[in-house]
């Protein structure tokens, strides 16, 4: 575990690349640099986003299409469809195999889901 006290306050180049790539994947349509900047949410300068996109393009991780003077970016598709099939297969395996997966969030019972929704509503009202 990484101690929270020692967590970096500034993100490294690799982390920023992942964030930009994640934003492109989330969008499901090609994005301009300005749109990427908005999607990554907030604190990145336009120039930084541009640099990161250029680096991702050099690595072959994003495709670039020109629209007038602007570039439109989207993630490069490799054998992702195959990966999707492999993941569906993995998620259908028995509890032994499922137990190994380190999930971000586990599913909830109906009761827990209701409790969680109530908790979120309560926070919003405060």
């Amino acid at each position: 575990m990484v101690d929270p006290a020692r967590a970096p306050s500034r993100r490294g180049a690799g982390e920023l690349e992942s964030e930009v790539l994640a934003a492109l994947w989330a969008a499901a349509r090609p994005l301009t640099t300005a749109q990427v900047q908005r999607a990554v949410d907030g604190d990145l300068a336009y120039n930084t986003v541009q640099t990161i996109l250029a680096r991702l393009y050099e690595k072959g991780l994003v495709d670039r299409a020109s629209q007038g003077r602007r570039h439109l970016y989207r993630p490069t598709k490799g054998a992702e469809e195959l990966a999707a099939e492999q993941m569906q297969a993995l998620l259908r395996r028995g509890p032994d195999r499922q137990g190994v997966l380190q999930r971000f969030a586990t599913s909830l019972s109906e009761e827990d889901a209701e409790a969680l929704r109530a908790m979120l509503r309560l926070r919003r009202r405060r």
Binding site: G42, Q86, R93, F104, T106, S107
Partner: protein
């Protein structure tokens, strides 16, 4: 043989009984988790060794010892009843079979995850075009963060940062190794299953805390977690698994409650129980050796 051979079982029960409370109260640092896993390993080793000793009594030297003792006019204290020996041997066999099973499952899943990641574009992040929201940390050199497109689409920029940081914390803290160790302990000694769940919960909490620091907001971290969990709860097949200790609700509540206070005493107490088990196992071994020594060498 002496009572000490049964101590590991008693301690395991005690450790299991308190592990849920411990998981909720402990500050989820790496040190804490290592301590809990260490205690579990000591308990598992002690209990397994006790089973080995009890099974060995089946080989017949207790019978020999009893006869010898009667001849010499000595009264032996607490010889192990035959039934206990048989039960111990069975428990040992089942335990070993379970260890083989969970280890195989772990390797198979890991292999599959690596193959899956290789199908994706290189880099830290691997995105799979699947609509259900999932995120996994895939250990390896280097480790990778595997996310579904469904999860990314569900979240905003800050929340996506939370997910990435959370999975990165699993990789950096080598949580998979800690979880695997706890799993093997619970496989060989099923009394330790609650400890395995406690470890699973603690590593998730630790990763949440790291993500909260990176994103700069406990609120955003809790929201990302809640969104992902609520989106996932539609699938009854997965809820049937019931990983009680990983309860998302408890994690969200902990994030809302504020930064955890470090407690040094609790993990220490946990470790002490593990050490107690080891001491008992050593004592039982000595008693066993004395019996053999007395039988054949005196």
């Amino acid at each position: 043989m002496t009572v000490s051979v049964y101590v590991p079982v008693a301690v395991s029960l005690l450790v299991a009984a308190i592990s849920h409370q411990m998981a909720i109260r402990l500050s989820p640092t790496r040190g804490t988790v290592i301590t809990v896993v260490g205690a579990a390993a000591l308990c598992a080793a002690g209990a397994t060794w006790a089973l080995v000793l009890l099974s060995l009594t089946l080989l017949g030297f207790t019978q020999l010892a009893v006869e010898e003792a009667t001849q010499r006019g000595v009264v032996l204290v607490q010889p192990v009843p035959g039934a206990v020996g048989v039960l111990a041997a069975l428990a040992l066999a089942f335990g070993l079979a379970r260890v083989v099973r969970v280890t195989r499952a772990r390797w198979a899943t890991r292999r599959e995850l690596r193959v899956l990641c290789r199908s994706c574009a290189p880099g830290e992040l691997a995105v799979v075009p699947v609509s259900e929201p999932h995120a996994f940390a895939v250990p390896g050199r280097p480790g990778r963060v595997l996310v579904t497109q469904g999860l990314l689409a569900l979240l905003d920029g800050k929340e996506r940062r939370v997910v990435l940081a959370h999975e990165r914390a699993h990789l950096a803290g080598r949580h998979h190794g800690l979880r695997a160790t706890a799993e093997v302990c619970a496989a060989i000694n099923p009394l330790l299953v609650p400890v395995r769940e406690a470890v699973a919960f603690l590593v998730e909490r630790g990763a949440d805390e790291y993500a909260a620091t990176v994103s700069g907001s406990r609120e955003v971290t809790a929201r990302a977690l809640a969104k992902a969990a609520l989106a996932e709860s539609g699938d009854p097949r997965q809820s049937a698994l019931g990983f009680v200790a990983c309860e998302v609700t408890a994690r969200v509540a902990a994030l809302h409650a504020g930064p955890p206070r470090p407690r040094r005493l609790l993990p220490g107490g946990f470790l002490l129980l593990g050490v107690g088990t080891t001491a008992a196992a050593v004592q039982a071994t000595l008693a066993f050796c004395r019996l053999i020594h007395w039988l054949w060498l005196s």
